[in-house]
Point group: C2
Chain length 390, copies 2
């Protein structure tokens, strides 16, 4: 039996109902691009939504048209921890993204030009509200589980708070209940790099037929740096030089410099990530703070949640350290919620949530068995067409 | 009795003997700008050299012509931990700096233009060699102590290795025996910010009557971020907003953003720090790795040192964490060296080495008493003129 999904064709949902954003602005209509893997069962009880992180997209598993595997292909597929023989897995590109869903780089139907900086800033809550439209379209009353790492984990938390009856399990990986001042500061430095690039043109770079490549590369270098642990960088690069002799110039002297430049360059050019999307996603991260509506009391906030929780953190993650996951777990325990927690030993820093790891895979697989057991019927008959909700 | 030094006038030493740099290049002549505090005693046994950090300069204590206190004025002066009633304290602007000593922003006598990018990259060893010329000029055979924090601590280590008989005590604060891959990576991101600024003009910005202000501000924001601890930023700024209502735009939303922008702006404009100097100093940091000449064995390297050591680290410093100081202390203990070590509780991260702290001040003051006791004669007669060494 194959364990691979093969080539997946993305779909696009045109949503015509206006979305009231956290900012107070209204988006009259928008598209969500998404992929699905596996089949929805007859009772529509096996749906799983994967929420992506800052630089992610809807292509989470299988191969795309260019045979590129999804960003979490190791974990999703037939027989994999998120088993597509059991689950109907969905992943959408976030609103404001740059991979199909409506965002700064798409045409504004009102003007016939790309939105650029006119695209409104959206929040985690706005994402969840838009994903809820996709849920209705797919005919899923309640997700068997919502799963997300990093910024994706924040969307899962927001779902659990805003739509408690629409998910059975919330799997929150390498996340935090809000950004720290340091987290915000790193985002701000990244944004400044983009916004001070002369090719940024106040966000109207596409109209100028250019992109703020240097700024975007800078932002990515810095982001990447915060995803890796000091130990891992030490183990991977140490002080290894590009050339045996020191050059005493400003070219790349150490391998780690070369690696970071490459990552920045790749992101800004071949991955074609939209600079306005990068700005918008970092802002959504900064704004995420669900407890701010509940007297800054996370326990009160999570009292609204009825899902069962699985929280995962990685020992060397210094962007969202295990202490940040502890905050979530403690707030859930204050509510006597059903919560499992795994602290995974890894040298890979924040990036660990995307990488193979036996302990991680083991606990993940075990928890997903629990999700299966919690599915209301052992209905193995798969539906052929989703029943759309009105 | 006053505890303040008053206004200090900097001096400049013109050095005409060529300096062979680590890069193999030769600097035929150069200036070192320095300040002194207190008086040299008759036996010239009470000299202390303070080595400055990345963005520091020679103005370490007292007031300058604009009444600005030195960057470590809290610790140096009459009756202060580094007591100018006892010691003759010296601090010079590093070669390649931008506050008087010869560097990228000074005129190249061979061309009549500023050096700019033609100024050679110097290393920690080059700094120590140039400071040794100053030592000779001042008529000091052996420093009572060398003291430095961060990059300054690295210069102290290099002195102890290269000129073991020229110092009695080595005080190494918040330093590391070499940069980690992560440290280098942060420096590289900062350098890229400067070098990709269109106003950089490949380092010839002064000839273009401009400065790479945005790049320099970016670099400083990032540097500053690594000097502060997450906890301290949390305590100081938290998620405090500039305006009560969220703005949902790319203006400053949180206080921490405002603070960082201000720090970057200030550094790039009012402090007038030269961008080429910033590049050069970060490179010197990257290159610092004295053990690389001793089979990467720090114990073998420090076997050359004969000074007594005082090593200080700060609990929340994540740029050069206590673990990095432990490496130094362990290597010294491998040699049964005379070493004291203090791990100071502080929430201020790397910046702690510059800030008031009772524990820090207490152990510092106590150690300096030991430096006094170790001065060869209890000669309290102060010399009026230094005896220059040939």
């Amino acid at each position: 039996m194959t364990t691979e999904l093969g080539v997946i064709t993305p779909q696009t949902l045109h949503i015509e109902s206006p979305l009231l954003l956290s900012s107070g602005l209204i988006l009259p209509r928008y598209d969500l691009t998404y992929e699905t893997y596996g089949q929805l069962n007859a009772s529509a009880s096996n749906g799983i939504l994967i929420c992506h992180a800052l630089s992610g997209d809807h292509h989470v598993a299988g191969l795309d048209a260019n045979n590129k595997p999804g960003w979490w292909n190791e974990y999703i597929g037939p027989g994999k921890p998120i088993d597509t023989n059991q689950f109907f897995v969905v992943c959408s590109n976030n609103l404001g993204g740059c991979h199909g869903s409506t965002g700064p780089a798409t045409l504004n139907p009102d003007t016939g030009k790309v939105y650029g900086p006119d695209f409104p800033i959206v929040t985690c809550r706005d994402w969840v509200n838009s994903q809820n439209e996709l849920r209705k379209h797919l005919g899923i009353d309640q997700w068997a589980a919502l799963i997300g790492g990093s910024m994706g984990g924040m969307q899962v938390l927001q779902w659990a708070i805003d739509y408690p009856d629409k998910l059975k399990h919330a799997i929150v990986i390498a996340a935090a209940p809000k950004l720290s001042a340091q987290n915000i500061a790193f985002n701000e430095v990244a944004r400044r790099a983009i916004m001070t690039d002369p090719d940024f043109h106040e966000g109207r770079f596409l109209e100028h037929n250019t992109i703020p490549k240097q700024g975007l590369a800078q932002a990515r270098m810095l982001g990447h740096l915060t995803y890796l642990s000091d130990d891992m960088m030490g183990a991977k690069f140490g002080r290894e030089r590009r050339k045996e002799e020191l050059q005493y110039n400003y070219e790349v002297e150490f391998q780690v410099e070369s690696y970071l430049r490459y990552q920045g360059e790749k992101f800004a050019t071949t991955q074609n990530f939209d600079a306005n999307t990068y700005l918008l996603m970092t802002k959504a991260l900064d704004y995420f703070d669900p407890a701010s509506e509940f007297e800054h009391d996370l326990s009160k906030t999570l009292a609204l949640a009825t899902a069962k929780f699985f929280v995962v953190a990685f020992t060397t993650d210094w962007r969202f350290s295990p202490a940040r996951s502890h905050e979530i777990v403690k707030a859930l325990l204050d509510n006597d919620a059903d919560v499992s927690y795994a602290e995974i030993g890894s040298e890979h820093g924040h990036d660990a949530f995307l990488l193979p790891n036996d302990h991680y895979e083991g606990v993940f697989r075990a928890y997903m068995q629990r999700v299966i057991c919690d599915m209301p019927s052992q209905d193995t008959k798969l539906s052929t067409a989703p029943k759309a909700e009105k």
